[in-house]
């Protein structure tokens, strides 16, 4: 379980997140939503151990500040909002970097084939030999996700649940691959791990999450199940535009919801 209590997060001198309390339990898919600049990434970076904070963050009871980088790498894997790569690695080599910490949780003989399995999961079979820098944005995002999956392949290792921390994992994906990735993350939670995802798509958040945190101006404005959180008043206030939940469009204007999709995996 990831638990943050009374969290203030600082970037330099500036306090970006104020008084946040956050919880991600094993078996759970937790989403963080909120407008641009509301502090979602900052909160997640604090959970990753990248930023200074006051308050307390614990992973399964152990304080974040005493965990070494290699221990943390065995507990959580992180998909950043923007990734960069400075040398011409192949797709397979990038995915294999996920095995750097060596705690993916498969048998020693299986680790070698893990990049291929991870790539298959994110629907990138046949991409292993391509150069990462020559892929499209959405393809790159899925390669990064495959790398993240390699790092914590087994959702539970030696009895301890592990966590996926995903910052906008589907931001540049088409609808089919949005669903593919969301299902992978959901399945990770169903198998005993925990998923925390920052999302901008409220429909996807509603469809896949057990609980949603809504952030607004550096604070957590609300949290709860999708039905509790996705209320007209709350989202209109937070996103600063008047919206209605669950109301069809006027004048028969077409709309497509991910909930209606059936895709083969």
């Amino acid at each position: 379980m990831i638990e943050a209590t009374d969290l203030d997060v600082f970037i330099g001198e500036k306090r970006i997140v104020t008084g946040a309390s956050f919880e991600a339990r094993p078996g759970e898919f937790v989403s963080i939503v909120g407008p641009n600049g509301s502090g979602k990434t900052t909160l997640m970076r604090a959970l990753c151990g990248d930023l200074d904070f006051s308050g307390e963050i614990t992973f399964t009871g152990r304080s974040l500040s005493v965990l070494k980088p290699w221990q943390l790498a065995g507990i959580r894997a992180v998909l950043p909002q923007a990734a960069s790569l400075s040398f011409p690695f192949t797709v397979r080599e990038v995915v294999k970097l996920g095995l750097t910490g060596g705690r993916s949780g498969v048998l020693p003989g299986e680790a070698d084939r893990l990049p291929e399995r991870a790539l298959a999961k994110v629907d990138l079979v046949g991409f292993a030999g391509r150069f990462y820098q020559e892929l499209s944005g959405g393809e790159q995002q899925r390669v990064q996700l495959a790398r993240v999956l390699c790092q914590v392949w087994a959702p539970v290792l030696e009895g301890n649940p592990r966590f996926l921390l995903l910052d906008e994992p589907v931001s540049s994906l088409d609808i089919k691959h949005q669903l593919t990735i969301m299902r992978i993350a959901r399945e990770f939670a169903d198998r005993g791990g925990g998923t925390v995802a920052i999302l901008h798509d409220l429909n996807l958040a509603s469809m896949f999450s057990d609980r949603i945190y809504v952030m607004h101006r550096g604070r957590i404005a609300a949290s709860g199940t999708p039905a509790e959180v996705l209320r007209d008043e709350l989202i209109s206030r937070v996103f600063e535009c008047a919206m209605k939940v669950g109301v069809p469009t006027p004048m028969g204007m077409p709309y497509v919801l991910p909930q209606t999709a059936t895709i083969a995996l």
């Binding site: 290699w70 943390l72 992180v78 790569l85 797709v91 790092q151």
Partner: protein
């Protein structure tokens, strides 16, 4: 094609270049062996090169004391020093490029060698006066040690200036390198001004970069530092690989980023300091060798670092042979040869990367 009809042997997975990289390491090792043997046998001695070499190696009585001296006291130290320097320069280049996440970083280009040079010049010029106690205390290590301090200082300043939040700007790095080199050059100029005639001769030759003065003493001074750095380099490889995804991601992957950076900076400064102290400014090895190898085997530092060491050593020995033969019986400083080859190569890299450089 014939190959298609043959039974398939186990192929490396697609996108996995490790088998190719291992083969390349093997070939670089072979190349180094050949070049080293040839260098031992090659020179101004009239005895047939290979016979001489064979006689000395097999301990035959037929060879003269003169030949023995030529091989053991002149050529062998020179070859060993060449191997050490070539390997150290190429590996420092590769490590620095990994650290700065940037294939154009090179100790020579960004002023680290100049800083090390200043440290070394100070000891050469002031060793009998102001820095006398230092020389007394460190003996033959005074020169590499002060070069190390000079290189370390420049590396640290460079890193502070060029890197913000784990991102290095190529332009800032190169410009900061120019400023640092100019600064080190200015202070070195003061030292030259203070030098007497004998020291001036030393400095001139040393400044151009040369293996000519190779002695067992110089090897004793430089080898420990270089060998330790070369042995430490493989332990940086995984961390440097992860670092190519950025500092934050490297940390997420379990790499102790701060320690990695500290060790890498100190290792580069130490290796460059040792090289500069004994052989002056030999440029471009650190940029040419890793770049060629990356084209060949990819950027995985687990293979890139050992391959760089071997190929760097081989190329430096080859350059040394050129420097000895091109104006024989005199010889050119080897730094001139590496610059003559390396600088156009560097321009070629710039040309290829112009689109992505965004300077």
């Amino acid at each position: 094609m014939m190959a298609a009809t043959r039974p398939r042997r186990e192929h490396p997975a697609e996108g996995d270049r490790s088998a190719r990289a291992r083969l390349a390491i093997l070939l670089c090792g072979l190349l180094l062996g050949v070049v080293a043997l040839a260098s031992l046998g090659y020179g101004a001695s009239h005895t047939s090169a290979m016979t001489l070499l064979w006689n000395v190696m097999s301990g035959a009585d037929a060879i003269s004391a003169r030949d023995r001296i030529i091989v053991y006291d002149i050529r062998l130290p020179r070859v060993i020093l060449g191997i050490l320097i070539g390997a150290a320069l190429a590996v420092s280049g590769a490590v620095m490029q990994g650290l700065f996440r940037n294939p154009l970083a090179d100790p020579g280009l960004v002023g680290v060698s100049a800083g090390a040079g200043l440290g070394a010049i100070s000891v050469i010029v002031l060793g009998t006066t102001a820095l006398g106690p230092v020389v007394q205390m460190f003996g033959i290590y005074a020169l590499p040690f002060s070069a190390f301090l000079g290189g370390l200082a420049t590396s640290l300043i460079l890193y502070r200036v060029a890197t913000r939040r784990g991102q290095t700007s190529i332009a800032t790095m190169l410009l900061a390198g120019i400023a640092l080199a100019a600064m080190a050059g200015a202070f070195s100029g003061v030292m030259v001004y203070l030098a007497d005639d004998r020291q001036l001769r030393d400095l001139t030759f040393w400044g151009l970069g040369s293996l000519a003065g190779a002695t067992w003493t110089k090897i004793a001074a430089a080898a420990p530092i270089i060998v330790v750095t070369l042995l430490a380099a493989p332990f940086l490889a995984r961390g440097l690989n992860a670092l190519s995804l950025g500092e934050a991601t490297a940390h997420h992957l379990g790499v102790p980023v701060q320690r990695l950076k500290n060790v890498a900076i100190v290792a580069v400064a130490a290796a460059v300091g040792a090289c500069v102290a004994v052989s002056g400014g030999i440029g471009f090895v650190g940029i040419v060798v890793p770049h060629l190898l990356r084209l060949l085997i990819g950027p995985d530092n687990r293979y890139l670092l050992p391959a760089s060491a071997l190929l760097g050593a081989a190329l430096l020995l080859a350059a040394d042979a050129v420097s000895r033969s091109i104006v024989a019986p005199a010889e050119l400083p080897i730094g001139i040869v590496t610059a003559a080859v390396g600088a156009p190569f560097f321009l070629w890299i710039l040309l290829r990367r112009r689109g992505i450089l965004d300077l």
